[in-house]
């Protein structure tokens, strides 16, 4: 079946079946809008959780040439590591070298890193307390009686209770589940609608077969139709999400004054997911459904 014919047949059929076309497109639209909303919220919740967890960490920054007279020696660093490792209160110690720190920074705020001639960042330990409530004790034990040699600064974790971290964790989980449920639901709903709309045209398919159309000649336009519905529905959903984002996000971020560092996934990712899911379900849904009616 030639491409041009395929397209002209599909559009002809879309126009001739406005009612079912609109229904299918609307289903894709709603499904994808919900899906997008929850991917965005879910990724935001996940990032919120990460940020909260981050806050529980005690950070030990070592001296550099810039900050103290001279940089911390490997021996000094090792001594601190041993002190921490021996503590009952400490769960985990991670060493973050200058280079790694710069890498992280480059990822988060590339524009800041661009203009640096050398790496001004210090080596550091990230110390995780065994219990969120002990964060203060961990940093205090390090400071007492004095800061160990070579350590420039010890930064406490914020005063964030375990509970908040747990809430964040549950939140992430909940949104993950919700997103998966929605993904499956949208797919089912769209497939369902397509099934219905093809079902209402089964006599037509029967006739096509009887005048000698091959399976692909019948199926092609239906799949393309499904694909077009999928694309159109997804694109409208993306536009609506974008509008919602522009309208709602400032309001929310204002309320969450301190958490502007919490990021949802970039909108392009979300859009891409929506588009791929919409298109796949549209085209594959049509393709599979119609198989059932092709055995005339």
């Amino acid at each position: 079946m030639r491409i041009k014919l395929l397209f002209s047949e599909s559009f002809r059929s879309l126009a001739a079946n406005v009612s079912t076309t609109v229904a299918a497109t609307m289903t894709v639209l709603i499904g994808m809008f919900l899906l997008g909303l929850f991917i965005a919220l879910g990724s935001w919740a996940q990032d919120f959780g990460e940020t909260q967890k981050e806050k529980l960490l005690v950070k030990v920054y070592f001296c550099t040439e810039d900050t103290c007279a001279k940089a911390a020696t490997p021996a000094q660093i090792n001594a601190v590591r041993q002190q921490l490792a021996s503590s009952r209160l400490v769960d985990e110690v991670t060493f973050v070298s200058k280079a790694e720190a710069l890498d992280r920074m480059r990822r988060q705020t590339p524009q800041l890193v661009e203009n640096l001639s050398s790496n001004p960042l210090p080596d550091a330990f990230e110390v995780k307390a065994r219990d969120g409530a002990d964060v203060k004790l961990v940093s205090a034990s390090l400071r007492q009686p004095t800061k160990p040699p070579g350590v420039e600064e010890i930064k406490d974790g914020d005063e964030v209770s375990d509970q908040v971290v747990n809430v964040a964790r549950v939140l992430t989980l909940a949104f993950l589940v919700a997103t998966i449920v929605l993904l499956v639901s949208s797919a089912l709903l769209i497939a369902n609608t397509i099934r219905l709309s093809i079902f209402s045209r089964r006599r037509e398919i029967e006739v096509m077969k009887l005048v000698g159309a091959t399976n692909w000649f019948v199926r092609g336009p239906f799949m393309l139709e499904g694909l077009i519905c999928g694309v159109v529905g997804s694109v409208i959903a993306i536009v609506m999400l974008l509008l919602a984002k522009e309208a709602a996000l400032p309001a929310i971020t204002n309320r969450l004054s301190t958490s502007s560092d919490i990021q949802a996934w970039p909108f392009v990712y979300v859009s891409a997911i929506i588009l791929v899911v919409g298109i796949t379900v549209g085209a594959v849904g049509s393709g599979l459904t119609i198989r059932r009616f092709l055995n005339v």
Binding site: R2, L5, E9, S13, A16, N17, R203, E204, E206, V207, M208, K209, L210, V211, G212, A213, T214, N215, F217, V296
Partner: protein, 271 residues
């Protein structure tokens, strides 16, 4: 007004064969125009070999029916309502499988024809369905064009053939009408036009004149007669006693699913 078209175009006797697309090319040219699942070397077009068709659970529509139809024949199939005529046609298009027995079309045993070859078969068997089977979302012209599109006809050829065949059945002015905007007889004629447009070597008609007035019927019959003379095998189910008695062609009569009569130059009822 479209009636007059039919008459002026179809009536001018059989001498004018060759003047138009449908009955055009003389000899047996219809075979060359389409891909070939139907064997042209054999002299037999259709063979029914002890065919029985039982609709589940227990309706016996055809019962041990055997006959053969040669290429180029014009055969009437008659029989009371419910005697199995349409079932016979559905077997010929492999829309149904026989419960037992063998159906051969153009040398191919349909019971053993691969599923993927069925579309090819149907393109070579023009069929006028008793209930027309037009695509409800396509215009009269679109319905006919679809039959051409499925076999990959070019746009140019479609644009040439569709108006031609529509004018043959007297519907030039209805090209753009949807089936639901056509009268019963007009729908039937669109169905006829679709069946003949791609010059199939075998043409099957299930009561093609059931919804037509006598004058239009005669016009359609003349059209079919011309097509037959050009080499197309025609199998026609009909209830039109007058026509069968006048034409004196071969008549196959079914009675309760059994072959009751098969006469070379028969009438509607046995004499």
């Amino acid at each position: 007004m479209q009636e007059s078209d039919v008459h002026t175009q179809v009536a001018p006797s059989d001498a004018s064969t060759g003047a138009n697309g449908v009955a055009g090319n003389g000899g047996d040219p219809l075979f060359e125009s389409v891909e070939q699942p139907i064997d042209p070397s054999s002299g037999t077009m259709i063979v029914f070999e002890r065919v029985t068709k039982i609709y589940e659970p227990n309706v016996s529509a055809l019962n041990d029916v055997s006959f053969a139809i040669d290429k180029g024949e014009f055969v009437f199939v008659v029989g009371a309502s419910g005697s199995g005529k349409s079932t016979m046609i559905r077997l010929l298009l492999k829309e149904l499988e026989p419960t037992s027995g063998r159906v051969v079309v153009g040398g191919r045993d349909l019971t053993r024809l691969k599923r993927s070859r069925v579309p090819l078969l149907r393109r070579n068997v023009g069929c006028v369905f008793q209930d027309f089977k037009l695509l409800p979302n396509r215009t009269a012209g679109g319905n006919i064009a679809y039959a051409l599109k499925v076999q990959g006809e070019s746009k140019a050829s479609i644009r040439r053939n569709v108006p031609e065949v529509l004018s043959l059945v007297g519907l030039s002015d209805k090209t753009g009408s949807l089936p639901e905007e056509l009268s019963g007889g007009e729908q039937q004629r669109v169905s006829i036009a679709r069946a003949v447009v791609n010059h199939p070597p075998l043409l099957i008609c299930d009561e093609p004149t059931g919804n037509l007035d006598p004058d239009t019927s005669v016009g359609i019959m003349q059209l079919l007669y011309r097509i037959n003379r050009a080499g197309t095998t025609i199998l026609m189910v009909t209830h039109d006693r007058e026509m069968v008695d006048k034409m004196r062609k071969r008549v196959i009569a079914l009675e309760d699913g059994r072959l009751a009569r098969d006469e070379r130059r028969g009438g509607y009822t046995s004499e």
